[in-house]
């Protein structure tokens, strides 16, 4: 009886403290939201089975601590990451400016084989607040940054109102899967029979 091994996609969520990383993950996986803020200590993960195109894959989503003093669990979870999600709060300029640092941090720690093409996805969260009146980062500005970093897909989300969360994670899964399959081709030892798909480089248009 030959059961094919499951595809495991590893996704890392990074961003400043309080931007809503934990809330986004909870909304996506558990369909729950809480107004209460509890800083993430170290890191933790949730898993979710997702359908990407015609494949059922397991997504292991790592939520990390934005507060530096709580980043205590080391960097082991970076290993083998397939996609990195950078989150900022559209109402806090600093959290946007820090995206560069988070991206660099990821590239240093995870050290992906293909730095140029490693999939990132950027989420501008909390667009619900004040009906958008308190936002300080314009969509255009965020998109500009994403374009300059190699066309990173960008979503404006609200974990609170479940806005765009599903769509964002679909895109994350899709890009992660693309990365995972490409990685496997280069592994000398791996026999992967189901990998007939095309290797188009375009970021997802979801």
């Amino acid at each position: 009886m030959a059961t094919r091994k499951r595809t495991l996609l590893k996704v890392i969520i990074l961003g400043d403290s309080g931007v809503g990383k934990t809330s986004l993950m909870n909304q996506y996986v558990n369909k729950k939201f809480s107004n209460q803020y509890k800083a993430t200590i170290g890191a933790d993960f949730l898993t979710k089975e997702v359908q990407v195109e015609d494949r059922l894959v397991t997504m292991q989503i790592w939520d990390t601590a934005g507060q530096e003093r709580f980043q205590s669990l080391g960097v082991a979870f970076y290993r083998g990451a397939d996609c990195c999600v950078l989150v900022y709060d559209v109402n806090v300029m600093k959290s946007f400016e820090n995206l560069d640092n988070w991206r660099n941090e990821f590239l240093i720690q995870a050290n992906p084989s293909d730095r140029e093409n490693f999939p990132f996805v950027v989420l501008g969260n909390k667009v619900d607040i004040d009906g958008g009146n308190s936002r300080v980062v314009a969509e255009k500005k965020a998109k500009g940054w994403c374009t300059s970093k190699g066309n990173i897909p960008y979503f404006e989300t609200s974990a609170k109102e479940d806005l765009n969360v599903e769509a964002a994670f679909q895109c994350i899964a899709k890009n992660a899967l693309k990365n995972e399959t490409e990685e496997e081709i280069y592994l000398p030892d791996t026999i992967d029979v189901n990998n007939g798909g095309s290797q188009s480089k375009s970021t997802c248009e979801c």
């Binding site: 091994k5 590893k10 170290g42 397991t58 003093r69 709580f70 205590s72 669990l73 080391g74």
Partner: protein, 397 residues
């Protein structure tokens, strides 16, 4: 050879091997980390020894957890193992346990949880199974295990391990386990194989799914995937901490990831690491228990920052000796935290054997052809057994 923090030589130089007699037999084990913390007990698979968990012992103890890695003496039935393990725990004064069991060790951990529901608080199950029937069926010569020469037992134990070129960390992990296998006596090997191939299945386990983590490797391992999936189905609500790669011995080849998952597991089931604050301002950091930076490491032990090359340990150790003394006391550390002049085995030079089930099977046939009884073999004299083996080998080759 110089000892690097975190390597095996370093481990052997700071963590003493202990032995405790249970009846006429001895358990060998390592017990490291603060005694006031409920321990995580690591149980190896057929091919492993307590030593295979040295990276867990070093790293988790440095983060304030207590880790015990234990090797059972030769026992010949599942029930005997459960009884012996219970007496072992009683003897070392441990009542409630969290168990991390890999392959056969995972099976035995579940068995213990079934028979002693009140003692097992949580389980981490790795590359394991619910039922030995498949192994029993595949090992038609299991009744001859005690007759089988050592090299064939080893060969059989190693048969599931993937041959061929490996990524360096996985290759190292296999070499290490093979070197450990070399330290086992024939009797020990035979007992382990007997446990693995005796028909048995896990009954009801009362540990709630929320207190179970399943940590499988996703690349390959000797435990067939169908059997591993049964474990996932049985404990449907368990946390699934899948590692992308790591092979059969992720505790060696992916120690940093395994340690992270073990920490997350212990945190989730409410085990608090023993943390000593570094002084003003540090208290809220470390109160959470898993902040390596808040935990004062024991300076004169030269605790490793992390296992080789991972850069995981961002911990800074204070060399304030009165603080270290405070830690020692608070941690309930006794003399066992002193140097132990053990020698590391030279495991680089060991070899590994290829799969050879067929040989074993045909030897069985050969022996039966010679009219040997095939049960209750323990009483046979060594000389006559050897003679039959010579005969058997002669007929084969």
């Amino acid at each position: 050879m110089a000892t690097r923090p975190g390597d095996y030589t370093h481990f052997k130089s700071i963590v003493p091997l202990k032995r405790v007699s249970i009846g006429t037999k001895y358990w060998r084990y390592y017990d490291y980390g603060p005694k006031s913390v409920p321990p995580l007990i690591c149980i190896p698979g057929t091919a492993g020894t307590a030593e295979v968990f040295y990276k867990q012992i070093l790293t988790l103890s440095s983060k304030g957890y207590r880790v015990i890695a234990a090797d059972a003496p030769p026992v010949w039935s599942h029930q005997e193992w459960v009884n012996s393990f219970e007496k072992f725990l009683d003897t070392i004064g441990v009542h409630h346990v969290h168990i991390y069991g890999t392959s056969l060790g995972g099976f035995l951990a579940q068995l213990f949880a079934h028979y002693r529901p009140r003692r097992v608080q949580s389980l981490v199950l790795s590359n394991t199974f619910l039922d030995t029937r498949e192994f029993a069926a595949a090992t038609t010569w299991s009744s001859l295990i005690t007759w089988t020469p050592e090299f064939l037992l080893k060969r059989y134990i190693l048969s599931g391990i993937r041959d061929g070129p490996q990524e360096p960390l996985i290759a190292d992990s296999i070499d290490f386990v093979v070197s450990q296998l070399e330290t086992l006596s024939k009797k020990e090997l035979a007992a382990r194989l007997t446990l693995n191939t005796t028909v048995g299945a896990i009954g009801q386990v009362l540990v709630p799914d929320s207190d179970i983590t399943i940590m499988d490797t996703n690349d390959y391992c000797a435990t067939p995937q169908a059997l591993r999936e049964e474990v996932g189905v049985r404990y449907g609500g368990a946390r699934k901490a899948v590692l992308k790669t790591g092979g059969d011995f992720p505790f060696l080849s992916r120690a940093d990831e395994v340690n992270l998952h073990l920490q997350l597991h212990l945190r989730r089931v409410g085990v608090e690491a023993l943390v000593v604050t570094k002084g003003p301002g540090g208290s809220d950091d470390s109160a959470q228990g898993e902040d390596g930076r808040g935990f004062l490491q024991h300076p004169d032990l030269g605790m490793p920052p992390a296992e080789g090359g991972t850069g995981e340990g961002s911990s800074t150790s204070s060399s304030n000796s009165s603080a270290s003394e405070a830690y020692r006391q608070k941690a309930g550390l006794g003399n066992e935290w002193t140097m132990c002049p053990c020698n590391a085995t030279d495991w680089d030079s060991r070899k590994k054997f290829p799969l050879d089930l067929l040989v074993a099977a045909s030897i069985e046939a050969t022996i039966q052809g010679h009219g040997l009884p095939n049960d209750g073999l323990l009483g046979g004299s060594k000389v006559s057994i050897m003679r039959y083996w010579q005969l058997a080998m002669y007929n084969l080759y």
